[in-house]
């Protein structure tokens, strides 16, 4: 850590790359000391320091977290993810969500789920699910219903094509306003997409060539800026015609 960082005003590191050991905030220098910490930050007495490398984000007024891109996923409550059914047990489905351990999906965690209407999933089924429990040393728990008990969009994804990207890219795809690559593709093509925060993306469209085009465009946009993404999609479209 160089001298510049610690002397700087607390918010100057926002949207910049931080590495473990950087001090982000000094609480003694702040008037309002109520802040909310997210992933990758830690409180050491009066300072807030960084625990993992990534970009520091701030959601006004006081939420801070470090955003980074991984090929693995650390489960977090209320994340929507794409999971693959690995095994069916009497009480739970075992689902792979790219986490360190397999996740449990209780057989009753479906809309109107009772013992009588347990859904049948074969191994390898793709599910769009929500993480409801994520504790240390416990398998994460999933659910196919939202808070109100409705199925909303959750459940099995049929047909289409699923591919794996990094968690950073999937977060970019979900960001609002709509990610440039998705917007540019949507102007000429119609497709259906489901993005899981664990870095899995599912795409479906009426013609297979559209699915291939959309999925490759998304995979290529990992390291591109918004403008570059638009140019890339335009070039792809020209080649298609």
């Amino acid at each position: 850590m160089n001298a510049e960082t610690s002397d700087a005003p607390p918010t100057s590191l926002v949207d910049r790359t931080v590495v473990p050991g950087d001090t982000v905030l000094d609480l003694t220098a702040m008037a309002n000391q109520t802040i909310k910490l997210g992933a990758g930050l830690r409180q050491d007495c009066d300072t807030i320091s960084v625990m993992k490398a990534g970009k520091l984000r701030l959601s006004k007024p006081n939420k801070y977290w470090v955003e980074s891109s991984h090929k693995r996923y650390a489960p977090c409550v209320e994340d929507t993810v794409l999971g693959i059914v690995v095994d069916c047990k009497p009480d739970n489905f075992l689902v792979d969500i790219k986490a360190p351990t397999l996740a449990f999906l209780p057989v009753l965690a479906f809309e109107g789920g009772t013992r009588r209407n347990i859904p049948k999933f074969e191994i390898g089924t793709l599910l769009y699910v929500r993480v409801v429990k994520a504790n240390n040393s416990m398998n994460p728990e999933l659910s196919c219903v939202d808070e109100t008990g409705k199925a909303s969009e959750f459940g099995q994804l049929k047909d289409g094509y699923m591919f794996e990207t990094s968690t950073g890219l999937s977060r970019m795809l979900l960001s609002s306003p709509t990610c440039p690559v998705l917007e540019a593709l949507g102007k000429t093509l119609s497709y259906e997409i489901a993005v899981g925060l664990n870095g899995r993306v599912w795409v479906n469209a009426s013609s297979p060539s559209t699915v291939i085009l959309v999925s490759n465009a998304i995979m290529n946009s990992e390291s591109l800026s918004g403008v570059q993404q638009k140019i890339m999609v335009e070039k792809l479209m020209q080649r298609l015609q």
Binding site: P100, T101, G124, L126, D159, G160, I212
Partner: protein
Amino acid sequence: MEQRLANTWRMTNNEKKFIESVLASDLRVDGRRPFDYRDLTIKFGREQGLSEVQLGQTRVMSYVTSQLVQPYRDRPNEGTLSIFTEFSPMADPSFEAGRPGEFAVELGRVIDRGLRESSAMDMESLCVVVGKSVWSIRVDLHIVDNGGNLIDAANIAALVALLTFRRPDCTLGGDDGQELIMHDAEVREPLPLIIHHLPIAVTFAVFGEGNIMVIDPTHKEEMVMGGKMTFTMNSNGDICAVQKAGGVGVMSSIIMQCLQIASAKAADITSKIKHAVEIYNTERASQKANHYLLEVANQVSLSDVIMKEKQVENLIEHLAYMPLDELENSNQGDALAVDTRTKHESISQGRYTRAFVRGPANWDPYSRGISSRLATSFPTLPGFWCVLLGPKTFLLETEETTLLHAENSLG
């Protein structure tokens, strides 16, 4: 067990169905056509005999080493070639650390067969003393990332490493003429291996009822395919080896068609490899020439170093400044970035610095002999002077700039 279960890479039924259905209409999930090869990148290491090949997502590293051993009894005048594979779990979670798996053995065997059975390498030239000592060539293949089609990538990596490998020259000598003398790389140019042709492996994945063939399958396609066929061919169109894995039967007409495609691809890949190796070799040769000239210059100037009285005085003066010099050296890294402190220091040493800022100064007895000779012979080599003059001159130059900064800000 559960940990392992969570770490294995798996595929959804959606993907399997999609890949198969799309292949029926001659499309592939990565946008290629059935007989398109992925992009091939060949890189070299600092040492000779080290290569890294990237084929799409797949990365393979290869390293060739040699050793003098006793030959096999039935082949007293031939060297040996052995191939070792290393499948790290980092490349693919399904690879187990430790004992080589079934696929690791297959990969090594296919590459070994391609090289050996086609007698691509001249093994007899590796013999030093018949029945006593021959060169044993060892090829280590490290899978760095598994993106599918490891055989082709590993085969190319092995070939590139073998092409760039140089073994030390050795002769018999000594009092009784039986002593083995290894010549240092500086004394005698190390020798390349004699490779007659390049056997290139080209893999096809078989889908459906054995009627859909696809070249260079990706990792996902390998999970879906019914079987695969590897043709090892050279640029002349000779078939060196064929390997068929998986249960699906393939019609002979399709095999003939694949052979034609494979021979075209083999010729294409051969030219790519040769091109890359040629560039590497010329670069290496020019580097060597620089190194050699430097060496000669050093030797020449060494002979006429005579410490005159004035030079001794200079040297003493120089030594007196050494601690300061080293002090400066320690904060050299941020000399330009962090101004304030360095400014102060360089002003305090102003007199000393000014005396040394112009090129190879009189305190260096070696550079005098070199400078006039080489400055004329290497007018077009950027960065050559820094090698020649060492870091000290650089240090002084940067000092000069900081000094200028300081003077500007003061003035």
